[in-house]
């Protein structure tokens, strides 16, 4: 049994889509910037400022290289949430088609129902302020296609914002085709690439992206720092800033730069550029083992979302007839996420799973497992045993599993809703 292995450290972290540990090489790069190189890069008249600026410039270059952008096109922010807000609000207001208070629609936005809240909520706020928005509902495979976007476009569409890859199920949208479509119609295209950048090769020009959000702490960098790609040519994209002040970051984002964090993000991008290809192959194999073992040993479980078009390190599995929170309790040695309502403050199961047509019952019983740079095969072997054992144990407790085995159609039972 893997339980007896000597060097297996518990609990096992399989929640890398939530956050990742800092790579020690990143920490090392950051350390001098806390103490010796502490200057404000805005201080143009002395050595302390120049050295800090050099650190920031290097990081900007490292980020730009990873996404094949020009370094002048990278804006540093406090994280992908801020990047998304700046991109969506900043562009919608800059490019609006009717003035506020005119009584006319200020412009139309296309997004998707399974985006992260950091995209949905800024869109919804703009709706309250006079914009109109369409939230596409992807089919069961979870993929947003260019065709779906095309059907939603209007003459007054000012912005399309579609995530690169989904954070709950890992599915990858048709970003390049959507970019091409938006370019042909002169519509600003933003993509939230939080889960994508640093994991898979990115080329903002080949993808025809105008704005792209990225995060540091998802790619083994520190928390509290992120970036926004803002295209400077064909077209030069302008934004209305959210924060006014000292005019840093080309005026898009005022405030003294988080130099240590930015240096960390830069280093994380450099390492990702070197290692993401081999990480992706290794993690893809481990995930295959995890999924194949679980689905071959347990009946009535399903992997959610498209099986091929998805990130290699994320899997989202629903286990029929067991509930997510009790499943997480039973596998407490594994740190992961669940779509279960009982694990969230809202008491609602995952809106992502609901939207792609996973029934409420299966949404309640889902686990998201996300692998990372230091995930080992031994950890995966251990997790397989734990999860299979836990599901079997809970099914022994489940009246629904009994009824299923007796051939009772659970959807036809009259349940006493409460």
């Amino acid at each position: 049994m893997p339980d007896n292995s000597t060097n297996l450290k518990l609990p096992i972290y399989l929640d890398h889509a939530a956050t990742t540990p800092c790579d020690p090489r990143v920490v090392e790069a950051m350390l001098p910037y806390f103490t010796t190189i502490f200057g404000n890069p805005g201080s143009r008249n002395h050595r302390f400022g120049w050295e800090a600026e050099e650190g920031v410039d290097k990081a900007r270059h490292q980020v730009a290289e990873l996404i094949k952008a020009d370094e002048k096109e990278v804006i540093f922010t406090s994280g992908a949430t801020e990047s998304n807000n700046l991109a969506i609000r900043g562009s919608a207001i800059m490019y609006e088609k009717a003035s506020e208070g005119s009584g006319k629609c200020r412009g139309h936005i296309v997004s998707c129902a399974i985006e992260h809240k950091a995209v949905l909520d800024p869109c919804k706020r703009l709706q309250k302020e006079g914009f109109e928005a369409t939230f596409l509902e992807p089919p069961k495979d979870g993929i947003v296609t260019a065709e779906m976007v095309k059907a939603a476009l209007r003459d007054d569409t000012v912005l399309v914002t579609i995530m690169y890859a989904n954070n709950e199920i890992g599915t990858i949208n048709e970003i390049r085709q959507i970019g091409e479509l938006c370019k042909s119609r002169d519509i600003i295209f933003h993509t939230d690439a939080t889960q994508w950048v640093g994991k898979m090769p990115t080329d903002v020009y080949a993808d025809n992206v105008d704005l792209m959000s990225l995060s540091s702490h998802k790619i083994y960098g520190p928390k509290g720092v992120g970036g926004l790609f803002v295209r400077r040519k064909r077209p030069r994209v302008r934004l209305t800033p959210l924060v006014d002040g000292g005019g840093q970051e080309r005026g898009f984002r005022s405030g003294t730069l988080n130099v240590t964090g930015i240096v960390g993000l830069g280093k994380a991008c450099e390492i990702a550029g070197q290692e993401m290809a081999s990480d992706a192959i290794r993690l893809g194999k481990l995930r295959k083992k995890l999924e194949d073992s679980i689905t071959s040993r347990l009946d009535t479980c399903q992997v959610n979302g498209h099986r091929e078009k998805r990130l290699p390190h994320i899997t989202n599995i629903s286990f029929g007839f067991v509930e997510g929170e009790s499943l997480m309790m039973a596998v407490k040695e594994i740190a992961c996420s669940s779509g279960s309502a009982c694990t969230s403050a809202s008491l609602e199961p995952s809106y992502v799973l609901k939207n792609i047509g996973v029934g409420d019952d299966l949404a309640h019983s889902s686990l998201r497992l996300s692998l990372g740079r230091w995930t080992t095969e031994q950890e995966i072997d251990y997790s397989i045993e734990k999860i299979v054992g836990a599901v079997k144990k809970l099914r022994d407790l489940s009246p629904l599993y009994d009824m299923h085995k007796e051939g009772i159609d659970l959807s036809k039972v009259e349940w006493a809703h409460h």
């Binding site: 509930e323 309790m329 019952d361 009246p399 629904l400 007796e406 006493a416 409460h418």
Partner: protein, 144 residues
């Protein structure tokens, strides 16, 4: 969620798991009352079964629960409390007693309510099968 030791104990070592037969078999058994409450979409379903002796005392109780740790613990505790009680005494078990015994956190109070509902449903099922009118205490009256 950080649970108290009693919930963890019932969750990890649930008491009286099982049933007295398949759904079809149980429907036929007059000595067994079944309470099935909740709904899969809500994330919890409890099935509580009581086996009642000729003297009107609950000889045995079993449960199966689909739900969170608190729901499993609440139904496990309910089976412990049901055993040895007279049917009408069993009806007096209140959800607040379960909350107190397990130290259920406020967001999990609905689990105890569900357990109380399951107890009442099982008793009603037993009484209906045996033609006992809801209010009158254990006297095997003629069929209503």
């Amino acid at each position: 969620m950080a649970y108290g030791p009693k919930i963890i104990d019932h969750y990890e070592n649930p008491r009286n798991v099982g049933s007295f037969g398949t759904q079809a078999e149980i429907k036929q058994r007059k000595d067994v009352g079944v309470g099935l409450v909740g709904a899969p979409e809500c994330g919890d379903v409890m099935q509580l079964q009581i086996k009642v002796g000729k003297d009107g005392v609950i000889e045995d109780a079993k449960f199966k629960t689909f739900g969170c740790g608190s729901a499993i613990a609440s139904s496990s505790l309910a089976t412990e409390w049901l055993k040895g009680r007279k049917v009408d005494e069993a009806a007096q078990i209140k959800n607040t007693m379960i909350v107190e015994e397990l130290s259920l956190p406020p967001v999990k109070i609905h689990c105890s309510v569900l357990a109380e509902d399951a107890i009442h449903a099982a008793i009603e099922d037993y009484k209906a099968k045996n033609g006992i009118v809801a209010e009158s205490p254990a006297s095997a009256g003629s069929k209503a």
